[in-house]
Amino acid sequence: MPWFDYLKPLADGAWITVQLTVFSTILGALLSFIFGIGKLSDNWAIRAISIAYIEVFRGTSLLVQLFWLYFALPIAGDAIGLDLRLPPVVAGVAALGLNIGAYGAEVVRGAIQAVTPSQYEAATALNFTSRQTLWKISLPQAIPEMMPSFGNLAVQNLKDTALASLISLGDLAFRAEQLRNYTQDSTTIYTIVLLMYFGMALVLTAMMRVLEASVGRWRGARS
């Protein structure tokens, strides 16, 4: 097989990889904010749940989380009479999102805590409620600070999608492995795959840069 014949199946796989990355990154970002803010809550129950989530998903490997959702959950569901079989895409997006969300939550928490105390004092002096202070004062200042770390996490997430091939999701890594089994042409195939992952990472990084610039415009403002 000439090398360009690999492109079609690999591009199909890459498209799955892109979708996995996008959806799990969005899910992860949502979870990051929910549990990062939750960890700073005045309510101890919310704080405890947030800490538990963060520690469990940071403290166990993504592969195990993925297998647990895909293989163990249906069996656990069976035992209590529920059908908890997940389609591979759902299991993949969920595992990746939950995993990246746990790391993201720490980024969100750290960035909120890094807002200087004097900003909170000004907010108190103007009689903002704590909720208004979060939404209007601290988050808008914290979000630009989170962006570089979020960019790294998104790229990390893109690379982690390769693990999803282990639950037979037809992503780029899965297609590559299929082709290799069929043709034994490891060098060509994996060189193309390498370049494809790298290209996707470049695009993702560029997108995060644009996002970073747009949420932090006020920081660069100078006359």
Binding site: S118, Q119, E121, A122, T124, A125, L126, N127, F128, T129, Q132, K136, I137, P140, Q141, W218, R219, A221, R222, S223
Partner: protein
């Protein structure tokens, strides 16, 4: 003296074993302009920060407008104030910080309209009109669309003053408003404060090291030392004829420094 709007009674504030305020008794009358002077660490900022509810007290009672600030009425006497009570009391107070503490992610206009809209419930239109009047007062009408980091320190502090005034407080607290400024920018901020001091109804409590200015604008000057008022009086009394040795030494040091 008419009924005080601010009253400290035997107020104690400590950090661990260290007593910052030591049974402080202190009153400010409605509309009075009071300057607090004193060496660094004597508790001047602490007095203002307690009033702005940024620091709790450890003993005594602080009243604003005849109502306890840090306490509220419970079934059996006074209990520590809860957030709702503090929110009600804070409406009467505005604060200007040494480091301005403007919101860096908001334009000047937004710095002035955000709290009136979301805290006081003003319409966008009303908040904007109020902001424009205040910008005119502090001489920054042409800077409304800039971000704080595009302004000089003096301009930023004038925005800080306007932002506090936008909430229409009865009492304005100034904590060394010009100490972070380059010398050539001090005047423009003091001019704005002097203009405010002409407002008959506004009560002002000002911590400063600008002695000449304190003398011009204040009705009364209090010299703080080691967490209490060592000496107080009209500017003339205190600056020309200080009774206490500590006051004399402090004034000498400041005026020569």
């Amino acid at each position: 003296m008419s009924e005080p709007i601010i009253k400290f009674e035997k107020v104690v504030k400590s950090y661990g074993n260290y007593r910052v305020l030591n049974d402080l008794d202190f009153e400010v009358a409605r509309g009075e302009k009071v300057t607090i002077i004193g060496p660094s660490g004597s508790g001047k900022s602490t007095v203002l920060r307690i009033l702005m509810t940024l620091e709790k007290i450890n003993g005594g009672v602080v009243s604003v407008g005849n109502e306890p600030l840090w306490h509220e009425k419970g079934p059996n006497g006074l209990i520590p104030a809860r957030e709702a009570h503090l929110r009600k009391m804070r409406k009467q107070l505005g604060m200007v910080f040494q480091q301005f503490n403007l919101f860096p992610h908001m334009t000047v206009l937004r710095n002035l309209t955000e709290a009136p809209m979301s805290v006081l419930g003003l319409s966008k239109q009303d908040a904007r009109e109020r902001a424009e009047e205040l910008l005119q007062l502090v001489g920054l009408s042409d800077q409304a669309q800039k971000f704080p980091n595009q302004l000089s320190g003096g301009q930023q502090q004038r925005v800080g003053i306007a932002r506090a005034l936008a909430m229409r407080p009865k009492v304005m607290l100034f904590d060394e408003p010009t100490s972070a400024l380059d010398p050539e920018l001090v005047g423009e901020v003091l001019n704005v404060i002097a203009k405010l001091a002409e407002e008959h109804d506004l009560t002002m409590l000002l911590v400063t090291h600008e002695m000449r200015f304190a003398r011009e604008v204040s009705d009364r000057v209090c010299f703080f030392d080691q967490g209490n008022i060592k000496e107080q009086g009209t500017p003339d009394e205190l600056f020309t004829n200080p009774r206490e040795e500590r006051t004399r030494a402090f004034l000498k040091a400041v005026l020569e420094g």
